[in-house]
């Protein structure tokens, strides 16, 4: 291998910095999945009866399903009975009333991850819900948000305090029968965030949830539900990390977004679950169903994701464009290295008139990884003048990785316009030498080129996350002059 190829490897293959384990006393269910476990889970969360019924219905349906195998992924068999479905830090009181009551070990964990939860050091302008294994441990700025009428809390809390609101929307975008992993999630989800933005409110700050898997042999099943009522606006960020462990861990999440008339939701993810080591041992299996419904006219949903972690990623954040003139956007950077596999993309379903969607996908493959874009653009007969623009670019680093693109287009409306562009490129030795000859080290040159490649997606991220995303790729911030 030439020295510049080694440089590339070094840059992309940095050590996983979030791989530590928090030593904390936990309450964990024994491994296994059955109706008793689900009943216990529902009881420990103090859920209303309808939730238990919903879970059981999902579980019974799940038992009739088989794991999907259509993705470009090689997955070792998963033993669903060997996983524990609930793990939470032990606490004395029922629920911490303030941060002073939260276990200092936990506060310290989030501090190490760069997510300070204590009052003085909070990220300015960002409210954080911190989910540790199966429970939310803290939510910041709740009071300030409440003043604006915004509900931002763990979904377990929402089920107790706003059961009607949850019942009205839960499962209406992703039904408990949607797919294998969504059904599993509906049966056993433990926590996640709930957001409700009332009519006419522009959420005064960024909302963010930080998911952390800590316990071994435990799955994380999070559920997020965001509702933006008429004429409202919200920007939501999500981050994820996990310790380094040799066994694979399962993460199966469901995210549902509902945008009513003239509402706008911006949903950003920086996914950095443990990807496994350089030999492909360990890592998170990430099977996620994310879907948004633009129910109202002139509504807009924008998904932005930076996917660097997980051994396996199976994820297609989608938009159902029901309302007339509604807009769906998907911006994605997916990086795979070593033995990571990603099969990710989006679905844009055009139903309303004059609906439009934009898909920008950037895949970067290195090592022996496989990186797949899979996207569906569907235009129903009712979607007059629907428009879609899709751009899929792949960047290969080295010659042992793979990049794949599977675009699906189904158009039933003759006035629709659908565009698709795709490119594949490689960081060349000549590019690196050129940069070195200008005094820029090969390492910085790779950063610069990868950053340049991802620029059109990074600019969609909120500032705080853009910085984190670039740091994640081991890259220096691409500055702008003038």
């Amino acid at each position: 291998m030439s020295s510049s190829a080694e440089e590339i490897e070094k840059v992309i293959g940095q050590k996983y910095k979030e791989g530590f384990v928090t030593e904390i006393e936990v309450e964990t269910f024994e491994p296994g999945l059955n109706e008793d476990i689900i009943a216990r889970l529902s009881a420990i969360k103090g859920e209303p009866e309808f939730m238990l019924q919903y879970r059981l219905q999902a579980f019974r349906h799940w038992q009739t399903l088989e794991e999907p195998d259509w993705a470009q992924l090689n997955i070792d068999p998963i033993d669903y009975q060997a996983i524990s479905y609930y793990s939470a830090p032990k606490k004395d009181s029922e629920k911490p009333q303030s941060l002073d009551e939260v276990d200092p070990e936990l506060l310290d964990t989030y501090k190490k991850l760069g997510i300070p939860l204590d009052e003085q050091e909070r990220l300015a302008g960002v409210a954080v819900d911190a989910v540790f294994d199966s429970v939310s441990v803290a939510t910041t700025f709740k009071g300030k948000l409440k003043d604006a009428g915004v509900i931002f809390c763990p979904i377990s809390e929402a089920l107790q305090e706003y059961p009607e609101l949850v019942k009205q929307y839960l499962g209406t975008v992703v039904s408990e029968k949607d797919n294998f992993f969504a059904s599993l999630n509906a049966a056993v989800f433990t926590d996640g965030s709930f957001v409700y933005i009332p009519k006419g409110v522009r959420c005064p700050m960024e909302l963010s949830t930080y998911f952390r898997i800590n316990a071994a042999n435990t799955g994380q099943f999070e559920r997020t539900l965001i509702i933006a009522d008429d004429d409202s606006h919200v920007s939501y960020l999500e981050g994820c990390t996990a310790p380094m462990r040799d066994e694979n861990q399962l993460h199966a999440a469901v995210v549902e977004l509902v945008a009513m008339n003239n509402a706008e939701i911006k949903y950003s993810t920086v996914q950095n679950w443990y990807p496994g080591d350089e030999n492909g041992v360990g890592g998170i299996y990430n099977f996620v169903t994310k879907r948004a419904e633009c129910r109202g006219d002139n509504s807009k949903v924008s998904w932005t994701q930076v996917e660097t972690g997980s051994a396996i990623t199976w994820k297609y954040p989608s938009c159902v464009l029901l309302g007339d003139n509604s807009v769906g956007e998907f911006y994605s950077v997916a990086v795979t290295n070593n033995y990571q596999q990603a099969d990710t993309g989006t679905k844009m379903i055009h139903i309303g008139k004059n609906t439009s969607s934009t898909i920008i996908s950037k895949g970067i493959s290195a090592g022996k990884s496989q990186n797949t874009y899979r996207g569906l653009v569907k235009v129903a007969k009712s979607a007059e003048n629907a428009r879609n623009y899709t751009q899929c670019d792949s960047l290969l680093v080295g010659d042992t990785c793979g990049a794949h693109t599977f675009p699906y287009v189904e158009v039933k409306q003759p006035s629709a316009q659908v565009e698709h562009e795709a490119t594949t490129s490689k960081i060349s030795e000549d590019q690196l030498f050129f940069c070195q000859q200008r005094g820029i080290s090969a390492e910085d040159a790779v950063s610069m080129i990868v950053n340049g490649f991802c620029k059109s997606v990074f600019k969609e991220l909120p500032m705080e996350f853009a910085v984190e995303a670039q740091a994640l790729l081991g890259l220096s911030l691409e500055g702008s002059v003038g």
Partner: protein, 249 residues
């Protein structure tokens, strides 16, 4: 400035340079001419540190240091600049970003602070005007969609900003029409000063009408076979490389 002694270079098992000797004092412009395959581009690549070449014998001393022991980026930071024959495109990275990153890498190496953004912009805008380039080039991706002439001007712009001590121009005239050639030459001439040396590699005499060298060398079959003043280039142009090769044989 630079002293090349008995330099032998191979690509794989094939010897390309077979004992090159060359001294370029500070402030001088030396031209290297020669037929295709003589080893002109190999010489520029070896001096700038490109991979794929094996030095089997000889030495290169630059400002008192063993140049061949330095990584390519260290050579660049020490003031060795190669204006590429075929400048590469870097999609997504703007020209101005590359320029600033390069200048800052150099400043850092010399223990200076990063350049102030406003000062930088003022400086770049002055230099770009001198090369008759449109400011919009600064914000376009490096060389992406540039014409041949634009790419070459862009190389000279980089030299003007980085202010190297030793500048290698590799076939800078290739692919240029006469107007572009005049602009590029003017840019190079503006960079000439007592402290800066040039090694100008060219196949044709044409470039030397615009940039007058102090010394002309003829490289044939991996060796410098003849050296002389600017008149040597004219003689070559009239009699062809065949003439030199015959004289040596």
């Amino acid at each position: 400035m630079i002293s090349i002694k008995n330099l032998h270079v191979s690509v794989g098992d094939k010897p390309i340079l077979k004992g090159v000797n060359l001294e370029i004092p500070a402030g001088e412009v030396h031209a290297i001419m020669g037929p295709n395959g003589a080893g002109k581009s190999t010489l520029s690549h070896v001096l700038s540190g490109k991979e794929g070449y094996t030095v089997t014998e000889g030495s290169v001393t630059y400002k008192g240091q063993d140049l061949l022991a330095l990584e390519p980026e260290m050579r660049a930071r020490e003031g060795v600049f190669l204006a590429f024959q075929y400048p590469v495109e870097i999609p997504g990275v703007s020209n101005i970003y590359l320029l600033k990153a390069a200048l800052n890498a150099m400043r850092k190496h010399h223990g200076k602070d990063e350049v102030d953004a406003l000062d930088f912009l003022t400086m770049v805008k002055g230099k770009i005007k001198a090369l008759e380039m449109d400011e919009k080039f600064l914000y376009r991706a490096v060389n992406e969609g540039f014409s041949g002439g634009e790419k070459k001007r862009n190389e000279i712009l980089q030299a003007a900003i980085l202010e190297p001590s030793f500048c290698i121009l590799d076939e800078t005239d290739s692919g240029l029409d006469i107007d572009a050639l005049k602009v590029v030459s003017k840019g190079v001439n503006a960079l000439r000063d007592e402290a800066r040396s040039f090694l100008m590699i060219t196949h044709y005499q044409r470039l030397l009408d615009y940039i007058t060298p102090d010394v002309v060398h003829v490289l044939a079959d991996g060796k410098i076979v003849k050296s002389g003043g600017p008149e040597l280039a004219l003689e070559l142009e009239a009699k062809g490389y065949h003439w030199v090769e015959e004289q040596v044989a």
